[in-house]
Amino acid sequence: MSLLAIEDLAVTFPVEDGPDVPAVDGVDLQVREGEIHGLVGESGSGKSVTARSIMRLLDGAEVTADRFDYRGEDLYAKSEAEMRAVRGDEVGMVFQDSLSALNPVMTVGEQIAEVVRHHGEVDESAGLLSELRRKYVTGTSKSAPSWRRAVELLETVGIPDPEAVATSYPHQLSGGQRQRVMIASALGGDPSLIVADEPTTALDVTVEAGILDELRRLCDEFDVAILLITHDLGVVAETCDRVTVMYSGSVMEHGRTDQLFENPAHPYTKGLLRSIPEQAPTDGELATIPGSAPDPTERPAGCPFRDRCPAAFDACTDPLPEHVVDEGHAARCHLYTDGDDPDEVTWETGTTANGEQNGAAGETADRTPATEVTDG
């Protein structure tokens, strides 16, 4: 059963003196209980907006969806008070920049203990007055259940000497430790879903591997589902059970990680996989997808990828159909509407969709970092 089911999500940011920005347009997303679901895409493809729409924390945005169910209940039909119970209690969040996502003037133990008091099952008042007393006068007692739980959570996420770390301020910890603290804090409410928005982007590769292992272990151990937002297909291959690939505000393809990596259907997915350096030829230029993503205000009708697609043809200006490749694996592409052989899509190194984008391809190649999707 799916924990989170979103159908045809559209998020538009109204802009004064200008066209509205449709950041997300037509996203379907299903996260099942206890799985790690990767949400992959370039910068600006709408990954983070999609994730934050789950929390209903997009100030000023117009959000519409055919379906936005969490455990079968429509999140956008809930009152603000009911929504506050969902946040933290049901859905925890891990941010990319752990230094700004942790309160700089509180010890990390206090911050986790606060989450525990608000959502966990401890017999401590979390009312405004008692929280005020804790914050400005007494601090959380080291023998209080919420503090002990905070220390326990820090230990759970693999922090050595959790008691000492709990009394530290965020700036005194390393980036990897802070990211673990964030995960501990997200676990404080004992959620069923953790939304991790590029949790390892700011970390170096060895620390990243540690954090990803931790997420994998927590997912198995606590039976918590994780929506992992990333632009790194290497991370997806190592960590995720299933993947949704986004491009310019829409979903291009989704399926199990093995299905998607072994038998990609959408030309965009194929292009992305081809751009992973390990799978590219070792001599010559790194493979890239020529061109860059369209401006969301000037998105072409039909398939947003068609200007960069080597297999684009007339039908691509029509609304995208969904093609089921295999069980649980579908791509939104016109190539398959008349039973074409998907193998006809060919990406060759240096080949571009059309001549005028040759220059763009070269430029993009120069700044493509290892294992990452071209950030356009």
Binding site: L57, R87, D89, F95, N103, V115, H119, T167, Q172, S185
Partner: protein, 298 residues
């Protein structure tokens, strides 16, 4: 990194780590030491004036009117009515301390509340509250003081009200400015994500991050409030004329500056030193409260 995580770091429910930081700050800095010493002496003199003062501040000795300072009986001399200046200074400190602390506290509570709410919500709430603050700011505080005295007569509370009124806008603007940048930080989003309400986020997450500049503002304004109280007393619209305050003493000695310089110079010097001391103490407090500053350990 502190490894002391026993229960012992609170005393009577108050966190000791804050005082430990303050002690470290003061011990390492002679300006802070001077500030703290001045403030402590000032507060002690004010609080224990009835016990410490050598004479009744109202008692007159006609024989020794305008006695020069530095005599053993009257170390700071006497005024034109033969009253002991040291005693009058000590009792005057009570008024100065009470009025300035009271006025700035009221101004801070009102101003910070307005500023935090305005900055946090933004939009029309911000516009409405800050225009209200602009209106407050547009009143010259001296005129407000004169008006209050004219309507309600002279008294300590009118002085407190007039000064508090003048400082609301300083606190409101500073708090709003701080909150405007703090509310964009990701930890506020994270707090919303945890399901905290707006009131809790404002008081628990946002305000502690704005405390350092507010403390500095508080101490600067306490010093300015002392000057303001002195000004009002000097002009004769402060507390009752017979009550000894530093400003009134200074004002009364003004006409005798040729014959008895100490009557106005000594209160003046006392005001300068105390104001300086409070400012330096404020800097030390700021350093102690700002956990992000240098010095590392929490």
């Amino acid at each position: 990194m502190s490894t002391d995580y026993g229960d012992a770091d609170t005393f009577l429910g108050v966190r000791l780590d804050r005082f430990a930081r303050l002690r470290e700050t003061v011990a390492g800095d002679y300006k802070a030491t001077f500030g703290l010493t001045t403030v402590v002496l000032f507060v002690l003199a004010a609080v224990f004036a009835p016990e410490l003062a050598p004479y009744d501040p109202m008692a007159q000795e006609y024989a020794i009117m305008q006695a020069p300072s530095l005599s053993s009986a009257h170390p700071l001399g006497t005024d034109s009515f033969g009253r002991d200046l040291l005693s009058r200074m000590m009792f005057g400190a009570r008024i100065s301390l009470g009025v300035s602390l009271g006025a700035v506290t009221i101004g801070a509570v009102v101003g910070v509340s307005l500023g935090v709410v305005a900055g946090y919500f933004g939009g029309w709430v911000d516009d409405a509250l800050m225009r209200f603050v602009d209106v407050l700011w547009a009143f010259p505080w001296l005129l407000v003081a004169i008006m209050l005295v004219a309507v309600f007569g002279q008294g300590v509370w009118n002085v407190v009200a007039a000064i508090a009124f003048a400082y609301i806008d300083d606190f409101a603007r500073l708090a709003r400015g701080e909150v405007l940048s703090i509310r964009e930080e990701e930890f506020v989003l994270a707090a919303k994500n945890v399901g905290l309400g707006d009131a809790q986020i404002m008081i628990e997450e946002v305000l502690p991050n704005a405390v350092a500049p507010l403390i500095v503002q508080f101490t600067v304004l306490v010093a300015r409030a002392m000057l303001a109280e002195s000004t009002l007393s000097f002009l004769g619209i402060g507390v009752k004329p017979t009550t000894p305050t530093w400003g009134a003493l200074l004002g009364q000695g003004r006409s005798l500056i040729g014959q008895a310089w100490w009557i106005s110079i000594i209160p003046g010097v006392a005001i300068v030193i105390t104001v300086l001391g409070i400012n330096l103490f404020g800097d030390a407090l700021r350093d102690a409260f700002d956990v992000r500053g240098e010095g590392g350990s929490p």
